[in-house]
């Protein structure tokens, strides 16, 4: 045996050193690719963290609301039982504040002093007195929200160090509030008003009740329409439809509808539901109908997948003991597919809950200060309320918007968790 030269077909083989260098370079390239991938994942994680983090930081403040507790003497000279619900409730509150912060004689200053309290305070007092006129002449303890600038001050959003002309509160106003704080009259309880009040022009009074009810009605309408329609369509296409042109057209249609931009559904609703049928503007009924059209493809696709997952043996067994085709489907296949269908439906409804653009076009972004009692009343929905508040210039609405988003995300997480639970608990593997 002679020494074989390190050539093969005349190509020079690299020396061991060269090969090692080459290998190192190839491994470096692999490490670089992995690093890019890790960086991409890290970027996505980071963005999600910033998104959620910034919302939590900015929204947490809206879950508490600064209140001030005052001893209010319901002065019979100002408020008379025979003239309710009219009366000098403002003056009574002003007197109560002046008692806590003495030495304010100027009428203008006294008026500014009243600005500490929310504009809703007088109406709260009025409602209390109207409900119980025996309070007239008594001294009652009243806890009312403070107005937005003072709320910001209490939460540290307004920096007393900034020059007075760039601040929303003057020096003496800050001093008044500090006096109240020192007397222990200021408290910061959980902001229930966020859930029990409807919208308001004043951030400290604005709540989500109207939006929550509006979203509830819209989703209810959406469910009532899209669930039976979706299941009916899916059963037909999956179990009974002959594979012909019509079925093909329907199929292509459903897939395309799933990809139509949501704002186009808004245009459809505006032209057809409002324009041709004359249904009321801003109504959750119309919102629900629009969302139903958008949810329909999701439910149909999920239902078909769930029906497909039921093994043929079930069908054959049922047919074998004499069930008709429809009995097979409605007595055996559909019940077994139900967990999958419900999972898909919940996911579809969760998408519908976050949908905004079509609701804007049918006017569900109106300013409405009462919660809707039926799907025909004008209302907003959670996402459109977020849009309205995000557009509002008052500083207090920034926190409210973030809080509303947190509420919306909470609902979405709950719905998705329910869907995951259903899937894990009831879905069978065959």
């Amino acid at each position: 045996m002679t020494d074989t030269t390190p050539t093969l077909h005349g190509i020079a083989r690299p020396s061991a050193q060269e090969a090692a260098r080459h290998l190192a370079r190839r491994k470096r390239r692999q490490r670089r690719l992995v690093a890019y991938g890790l960086a991409a994942i890290a970027f996505a994680f980071l963005m999600l963290a910033i998104l959620v983090g910034s919302l939590v930081v900015s929204g947490a403040k809206a879950f508490v609301q600064t209140h001030v507790t005052l001893e209010v003497f319901v002065d019979p000279a100002e408020i008379r039982a025979d003239r309710l619900p009219r009366g000098g409730f403002k003056d009574v509150l002003q007197a109560a504040l002046q008692k806590q912060i003495p030495g304010i004689e100027d009428r203008k200053d006294a008026k500014r002093l009243l600005g500490i309290l929310s504009n809703g305070a007088q109406f709260m007092l009025r409602d209390m007195v109207v409900a119980d006129p025996s309070l007239i002449g008594e001294t009652i303890k009243l806890t009312v929200p403070v107005s937005d600038p003072y709320d910001q001050l209490a939460k540290g959003e307004i920096d007393p160090e900034t020059p007075e002309e760039f601040r929303r509160l003057k020096d003496d106003e800050i001093a008044w509030f500090r006096t109240l704080e020192e007397k222990g009259l200021v408290s910061m309880p959980f902001n229930w008003a966020l859930f029990t009040n409807a919208d308001s022009r004043f951030p400290e009074l604005a709540g989500l009740k109207g939006a929550l009810m509006g979203s509830f009605w819209a989703l209810l309408v959406c469910f009532v329409i899209s669930f039976p329609l979706g299941i009916g369509a899916a059963i037909y296409l999956e179990e009974f439809g002959r594979k012909n042109r019509v079925a093909d057209i329907i199929e292509v249609n459903i897939n395309n509808l799933a990809a139509v931009p949501s704002v186009v559904f808004g245009l459809l609703a505006l032209a057809v539901f409002l324009g041709w049928f004359g249904l009321p503007r801003s109504a959750p009924l119309v919102g629900g109908m629009t969302l139903a059209l958008m949810t329909l493809p999701t439910i149909i696709i999920a239902t078909r997948a769930a029906l497909k997952a039921v093994p043929p043996s079930i069908r054959e067994a049922a047919l074998g003991v004499g069930a008709s085709n429809q009995q097979v489907v409605f007595h055996h296949v559909l019940p077994l597919a139900m967990p999958g269908i419900l999972t898909g439906t919940i996911i579809g409804l969760a998408q519908a809950l976050g949908e905004t653009a079509p609701l804007l076009l049918i006017g569900m972004n109106a300013f409405i200060t009462s919660a809707p009692a039926s799907p025909m009343d004008a209302a907003t929905a959670l996402p459109t309320q977020i849009f309205i508040w995000a557009d509002s210039p008052e500083r207090g609405f920034v926190a409210r918007t973030s809080a509303a988003i947190l509420v919306l995300l909470g609902f979405l997480i709950a719905m998705n968790a329910l869907a995951i639970f259903l899937r894990a608990r009831f879905e069978r593997k065959w």
Partner: protein, 458 residues
Amino acid sequence: MPLLAFLVLLGLSVLGYIWNRQAAAALARRGERLHSLESFHGAYAFLTAFVPVTILLLVWLLAQGPVIDWLVMRSLPEAALTGADEGARQLILAEIKSIAGGRVFGTPEPWKVEAAERLLAIRAASGWALVSVVAVLAAALTLRARARVAPEFRARHRVERIVLWLMVACATVAIFVTIGIVASLMIETSRFFAKVPFTEFFFGLNWEPQIPLREDQIAAEGAFGWIPVIWGTLMITVIALVVAVPVGLMSAIYLNEFAPARLRAVAKPVLEILAGVPTVVYGFFAILVVAPALRTAGQGVGLDVSPNTALAAGSVMGIMLIPFISSFADDALSAVPQALRDGALGLGATRAEMMTTVLFPAAIPGIVGGVLLAVSRAIGETMIVVMAAGLIAKLTLNPLDSVTTVTVQIVTLLIGDTAFDNPKTLAAFALGMMLFVITLGINVLALRIVRKYREAYD
């Protein structure tokens, strides 16, 4: 009132079910051999009463409003309507309705109050007429079904036929929705082009949809050239893709081939969360965090950054699209047959070389399809741009300037405006039509590419 009518209908139908079922059961007890099960006799009664009357109920409710309006307007005194155009008539009708609803402003003319009373009377009459018609019809249909109960009556076949047609009706709803979209867009768009010439819309370089509110008002005529609008849309789309495509592809490559199972188990759901965040939340994120950050950064290097930049809207939209592209690319990579992976590795390729030279090229059609779908998403995306992009249409290449998009214009033109006869509102429908056509085209193309690619290995 409609609710009462529906409850009456439901009650009668359920009664019909019970009645028919019992009648069938009585027959069976007498020793007759029934063709169909008792429950099918019941279901036959329920369906034959419930389905047609429900359809009647819905048609009535939809037709009722316009018919009542017409009746009220016809009954108004001649003098009140002479010289009133369509808009003035609408105004009178709206006023009558608000008086009828108890919201009286000032002192309306007596004939308006009279008309409002008449409106309420007609409404009440219509309501009661609906309830009685529904009750009578449902009762009659129930009686008819009851009369048919007989041993040889083929109730199951009848019921199954009705159910089948109901399901066919459900399936065709999707077609009707598409027809509705196309029809409503076409009709309003054609009305738009009756007022604004074709060439101006497609080739005009100015988009200023302000129109004078009053006849005598001196204002710009309004310009409807869509080039700057679509330009802004494309610019934001490109920015979004510049963010989303590299990040999405890289994360898909990593998750598909290199990630340890535990990281993969965490990363996939996290990306899904990112995909499930409503777009209005992304929009708020853009104005709360991204836009101020860009502004500060811009000032830091001495750049003039407008408050609503294309960059802020586009990059946030890119974040939204990351999971979309990543999951599409992941699916495409997973669909490449194992044999190709094994072959590449067997020839001595590193895993990175296997990925870049074999897997990735094989998956390209699927990835391109996914990216195209992302493009269509980006073009149709509304809330992020409504909140974070600008309103004024500008032809600019500067990503730090403010641009507008098709969807922004649709929303701003239609918010708080329902008059269907001015070019401003109709322009929104023309833009909607364009949007629909473009996204549909891209979707069809993308699905075709994906499908073609699937056939390659089957």
